[in-house]
Symmetry: D2
């Protein structure tokens, strides 16, 4: 490859500096020639701030990446090799509603699970499908879409099922975070660890962990069951609750931290209700953090990624994206954890669905390592979320309100069909400007 053009859609995101740092660090082996930051009109100011900071970072690092900012997505996509999507349709204000409305009805509000995640998907999927159409029209024939917009699993599922495009990879930072935390537990370097994971984005289990290739899940489970290890991995943005030893011992697997929402629903709901009362749900907190970050970014003396960014829930997302681009370009065949087509990798999931799992990354994209059958105890909860994802994707594309309501009713975080109907109605009213695919009545 002589030139390498990367386009970042949602370039004005507060996470972009991590991306810039990632590309700078890998420049020796991944010579990006052009990097285009694209955003929409309402994000123009943030885009400018990010562009300026990125420019200072690139200059300081003295690497040959040509940087651009634009609001013209189609122009930017011309001959692109990689398109990275990190968008937030409706912005943080929409996220506040995603969290607060469900809580006002007594159910969990959260941007990737339940009612909140569903509405984020309904807003995002049509926009990403539009981007895919542009990629097919303007980008290089073999361009890749790397999506790390949440809910990353559903977005990737929708692109695969409805976008007539098979070069999309979804990324999430949870597997990498868990890997890093396991490395601390075992006191080894993260890159000596590999995981077997089974499930979908934000809803998977670690069923084995390999230290220098050696299966060590039994040792890990024993540490937890014996009490030597107090907590399984957590995320910055999720309250840490301790699973019972009975659960871990029986499942023979480590749930990812987001499963708190499903297996500690009562406590999680109580905690979110408290935040709700204090007008401090996660989205409201993030708004404050973002404000501070952008103030920091605007400092003309800043020419590196600020430390504060690492403290956020989304840390490592962008670095994971850089790694993925690098491994595709350089055919590295290393193992990464991505959202990609199942094709029988997990035999119990639909063949045409997207899973989150271990894959070697090649120039031809991710090649999942075979997984086999879902351990039977994990099957119910995993299928439930896959069903939910598929219903939401279909509703997002068809604009079928009944289907969206039914998806909510079947979601384990929603405790009644009646509640599902009321929540849907109120949220639809709140978000309808971003839901043009639905009948606006």
């Amino acid at each position: 490859m002589d030139d390498l053009k990367v386009v970042v859609i949602g370039g004005g995101s507060s996470y972009t500096p991590e991306l810039i740092e990632g590309f700078i660090n890998r420049y020796d082996e991944l010579k990006i020639t052009e990097l285009h930051l694209v955003d929409i009109e309402s994000g123009k100011d943030k885009l400018k701030t990010i562009y300026n900071l990125s420019k200072r970072m690139i200059e300081k690092a003295n690497v040959g990446i040509k940087l651009f900012q634009t609001l013209d997505r189609q122009e930017a996509l011309k001959d692109a090799d990689f398109v990275l999507t990190q968008i937030r349709v409706g912005g943080l204000d929409a996220r506040v509603l995603d969290e607060r409305i469900p809580l006002s009805h007594g159910i969990i509000g959260q941007e990737t699970n339940g009612a909140g995640g569903m509405f984020k998907a309904l807003r995002t999927i049509p926009v990403v499908l539009d981007i895919v159409e542009d990629i097919k029209k303007y980008a290089k024939k073999d361009a890749w879409l790397i999506n790390f917009t949440n809910p990353a699993g559903m977005v990737t599922e929708a692109v695969n099922r409805y976008g007539d495009f098979d070069r999309a990879v979804g990324l999430c930072n949870v597997p990498v975070n868990m890997k890093n935390q396991f490395a601390e537990i075992f006191k080894v370097e993260p890159d000596t660890i590999e995981l077997d994971i089974v499930g979908v984005n934000h809803h998977f289990f670690v069923t084995d962990i390999f230290l220098e290739g050696k299966s060590s899940i039994d040792e890990l489970l024993d540490m937890y069951v014996s009490g030597e290890l107090q907590n399984t991995p957590t995320m910055k943005n999720i309250e840490s609750l301790q699973w019972s030893k009975s659960l871990i011992k029986s499942l023979e697997a480590i749930p990812n931290p987001y499963l708190n929402y499903y297996f500690m629903t009562k406590e999680q709901l109580q905690s979110e209700r408290d935040q709700y009362e204090e007008n401090n749900v996660r989205a409201e907190e993030v708004k404050k953090i973002e404000k501070e970050l952008f103030e920091e970014y605007a400092d003309p003396d800043l020419d590196v990624k600020p430390k504060a960014l690492e403290e956020r829930g989304g840390a490592y997302y962008s670095d994971a994206a850089c790694s993925l681009v690098d491994s595709i370009v350089n055919n590295r065949r290393d193992i990464q954890y991505v959202n990609t087509l199942n094709k029988g990798t997990v035999t119990d999931f639909p063949y045409e669905s997207v899973i989150e799992g271990a894959a070697i990354i090649t120039n031809d994209g991710p090649k999942p390592l075979n997984y086999g059958k879902i351990p039977y105890k994990l099957n119910g909860t995993l299928q439930t979320i896959k069903t939910f994802e598929r219903m939401v994707c279909e509703a997002a594309v068809t604009g079928d309100k009944d289907l969206a309501i039914a998806a909510l009713t079947l979601n384990p975080l929603v405790d009644s069909d009646t509640v599902a109907n009321s929540v849907f109605k109120e949220m639809f009213e709140a978000h309808k400007d971003y839901l043009p695919q639905f009948d606006q009545e």
Copy 2:
């Protein structure tokens, strides 16, 4: 067949008169020669009452069935052709605990779903497996076990997986009840209707209905969605709540009434909590009904099945059992709805698991009609319950407390791993005398 010996284990059940009536009505084509009512020491009095009533019924009907009562199960099983099990380990007092303890922890208590159903399974499965051992030792080589003890699905699953016995059929009255209610809706005779159902005992959906063989699901859904039909079928013992039109329209299926527990959890829980406060949970109500029934049964002038029996939630169970025996003996090849081995009938369920579905009944037992894939929207909830069933069956056989707790945590009616642990602990203490397979500490 020259002689036909039928053994009823739990012969002292208040439902037995329906069974007697069923055999009397079918006597022309199903000539039972010996009918043995078996019970345990603590049920001796009830057994005697039932035996006497049954004797009067048989004499009045003037059929040649020889009737016996006994506490010696093994003796009764000698050369049996059919063994019917309708037992209640721990009696109604245990059922009261199954319902009240979970409610005291804020979750649904119910004898076939959630914590209550799990403990009923833990108490019942080892007893039924003992009966199976006796059948293998004493009954005829090709004897059939017809189980209608709840939870009928899990009991049949356990016998198939752990009992090394493939001639067990599980029965439930819900499909028959739904069929009868559909017949009323369409104003036709029940025997002109057939259903496509998919799922497991107490957790299935009707995905098609055939009137004289003609697919009429669209007509039925339209009636519901248009408002012409106010309610889908209900059960005597389950509060009737109306599903939203969005749910029915999207699922393109009619949920069985027990799905109220899962899709109307909030309202169902509230209603049960009210009964709890009034000391009138279902088990407490049933105790009163049973007392009245037995008083009626004791009347030496009574020589037919009392009408009151038809008002109970378990009505038609016994008649369904008589139909099943008849169709096996006479190789009728008619369609009945039974719990039987999946073997690929529903391709998404485990091959070796038990399903509830439509089968033709032959002398070689039930032959399920092929179903195919689970409609994707129904897959999550169905797999969740199948996972729960399998975990409970394994725990019942192995006495693994951790596994039982994990099963509860994964059950959608239990809102937290912490709650699952507390509820298990208290229920285990309450029922431990009936749970010898578990460590008694």
Copy 3:
């Protein structure tokens, strides 16, 4: 149903009198009001002979079936309820070539297996797909297509995969013939027997046999292995060869007679080569038989089906078709053996493929009894033929010569890729007038 219109395409076939007899015999319960015999220009004379004989038969039987003959297919199809197809594209002369050309290259020539069957499929499938288009345009919305044109399996597969039509059933007389022969062996009435069969048209195994519902396969296998039974069922048109006891004992199944071609290839080939030398291959013999039959049919005094017809290989085909129509119209729910969509009935076959198997016949069409996994020993040969069928269907629709050649190479009756190429070339030249979908070069 007030009126019932049946259209027979290929009405001039010598088998039609059996069909007429079948409808006459069932008239009490299956009141066909109009019966249209359709044929093409070149079959006008035969059609007239058949029409006249049929008219005499109907008059003699004094039933109210109105009979019509026509060359206008579309007119005949108007408002039809059932369309029966029994056509022979290219006539018996084409069949002679189907048999003789392969034999001249040293491989088996036969109208349903190998090169001969493939070319019959290539000629027939486009014509049947045309008929399907006409049915969709002119017939009643819920009309059924009953196809008994060979190769019946491939034709039904093609209609299901490429015809956008799901109301086609394929019929063959082999299962019925086997059932009749088993009845003789066990000295019982055929209608007290049911079979488990697994496979596709002309390539299936009987894996169980039920006498009054009782599994009797072990008894049947023992009779064969012990030597008490000398031969398994045969067909009129296939030389009877004795399978080795080792084969039957190990397969635990009875192969249908056509499997002679695959497991007795050497002997079968030798025998066909002899017929080839004597200018007396099956097609040549059939030509003589047909000539005689039509002479007999022309006799104005004949007003019943001639006995001679029962001696032919295709006997019982038409009667099976009458049974099928009857069971659909009257929602009989009896078991018949038909070619229908798999949909997971046999879990190892493709979900969207057609199988030959046991189904209950309802007003909504055939509902296969679940079969489950293919016994592993039978899997290879069955998958090989299913692969062949799918390749041939695709080639018939797309006109892809390379694919047709590859299908031949993979067929076990063809002993070399080189031979496959030569045979294809010569046969294509011979049949090209009937293969307009292929490039004519």
Copy 4:
């Protein structure tokens, strides 16, 4: 790992020098401390010759491998880390019979396909299962068995299904040979190429080829179809025949050279018959080559692997084994082509069967890359051979002659059930001393 003990069973094989060379070349990264060559009494002389040559090679290379020779297998296995099996039960004389007897009945004789391969499996499987028992008793708990005894697929299948041992990997040189030949075609280094292969040992297809990760199968197929490329890869020991362009174009895959036996049966048989007449079947030729090789080996001045060894059909087998040992020990995670448990890798093959496919090699053994569904055109032939393999494995373990005969009848290289019976009988007589598991009558 401090010490690394490797045991070679069949150490007296003429291929051992390649193995020694492989270990010498990798010594820097793979420090084998002890290498034990084990053989049986009748191979004592050859073992001695090999031992002496190996000793000279190791001394010349000046590496720290301690070399041993012994006839005491159990002693040698004590605390072994790796056990390599390269045995030939019955020696080359048995192979001569494997080839000549079938040819005398008019069918292909060959040591891995058809009757010859079956008898090799029947002789070998029980011996390898004995070795497995010894490994479980004497070797380290996490010892690996690397089998490259033919038929490698069946031997590995048998160890997995019947040996209660899941640390066996089967190896073959065909995929490596094909990779090397593709490298020549594309004029690139072999290690820049990866393949997608689907099937079983000696019966697989290459369905994609990646040059530096880039899918290039279309380019390869075009080269063949356009005539630019005359031949697909071949093997030293298999006559090279040219597939038709139609076949390659339609299959969209490159058959491995052994598929000549199946798709060029006629020509292959003719060529073998010629060799038969000249008393020069492959086994007879190999006997001569071996004699010459051992004369060369005995030369006390020889201290490197002789060039002549590379000209043999089995070249690269041993080097592949060294690579595999190296990648396991060093957790290399590189892609190799091995025989390993399917576990859903290829969704259409049995879950518990062994496949030959691409896997990354880790310290926990091979982890196959997911493959997905078998392309439908390849399914029939692949399932046929898998069925054959499973029947042969079962017959080898149970000593069921009928099953072995049925396996032969179903094998596409055998043209009749009658021939299968005769060939089996004669071969059984010839080999009976090595078939103690069968009734000797």
